[in-house]
């Protein structure tokens, strides 16, 4: 029985270890740097604790821009153009989209069951839906 309790505790600790820490997004949003002229902004967030121990890198156009941490949100500003988001979990899963100057786009990192482990799947989300999901997440950006 005691072993079972310890196992349960270890599981909870491992879950917590995979979760983002930081101020809630809705408390820092008003202080974020405004988008510079001619740029586009891409928010990337993971609203679920499912598979929290799996935290792959997130690549935007081949460059690592962050880590897929549960309950975390951050953003990057980029020149407008073609965007390719890849998460390097069990199987690479790719999202492609375009941005134009002044655009803000929202990428949700969903979690799916892979063959062996959870898979992190990037999805493009409408602004209204994304902003609702992001409000209580931990802001992990700078």
């Amino acid at each position: 029985m005691r072993k079972l309790q310890l196992l349960g505790l270890a599981f909870l600790v491992s879950l917590a270890a995979g979760c983002a820490t930081g101020p809630k997004f809705n408390t820092v949003e008003s202080g974020l740097a405004p988008l510079a002229a001619g740029k586009s902004r891409i928010f990337i967030y993971r609203p679920s604790s499912l598979g929290a121990g799996i935290t792959p890198d997130i690549r935007l156009n081949g460059t690592v821009v962050g880590t897929a941490v549960s309950y975390g949100v951050f953003f990057v500003d980029r020149d407008p153009g073609n965007m390719e988001v890849i998460t390097g979990s069990e199987v690479d899963r790719k999202l492609t989209f375009t941005t134009e100057a002044g655009d803000t786009r929202y990428v949700r990192l969903a979690v799916g069951l892979g063959v062996l482990v959870y898979r992190i799947i990037p999805e493009l989300v409408d602004a209204a839906e994304a902003r609702k999901e992001m409000a209580d997440l931990a802001f992990t950006g700078k």
Partner: protein, 124 residues
């Protein structure tokens, strides 16, 4: 209930591991004909079943802006929203419309045309 939804979503996402790529071929956007409306609006919601098994909705009231033309039809990008098609990967997509019918999708990043079984749209 939310747990059931979360598990259902995870199971659906698991299917993605087996989904095929969105079938497409290279395409080059050209200048649209002057007769093509600069903006269209979906008057009645339309549900689309994509070949890989995923569903998509063209929401009532959504507005789409003319971005070019392909031999298959005029190409429209969603205004103030997003639209994607999905197979093994997820791609932003524009609608390709001819004679008030959706005939396919233009994938702007891949510069490709993905045909779709024509479906009549209620647009204005």
């Amino acid at each position: 209930m939310s747990r059931v939804r979360a598990v259902s979503a995870a199971l659906l996402l698991a299917v993605a591991a087996c989904a095929s790529e969105v079938y497409r071929r290279d395409a080059v956007l050209s200048t649209p004909p002057a007769t093509a409306p600069a903006r269209i609006e979906i008057v009645k919601e339309a549900y689309l079943q994509l070949p890989a098994g995923y569903g998509r909705t063209l929401p009532q009231g959504s507005v789409w802006e003319l971005r070019g033309a392909l031999p298959e039809g005029a190409v429209y990008r969603r205004v103030g929203g997003i639209f994607t098609v999905e197979g093994a990967q997820v791609h932003e997509a524009y609608l390709v419309i001819a004679a008030n019918q959706l005939v396919g999708f233009y994938l702007p990043v891949e510069k490709a045309y993905a045909p779709y079984s024509p479906v009549a749209l209620n647009i204005k």
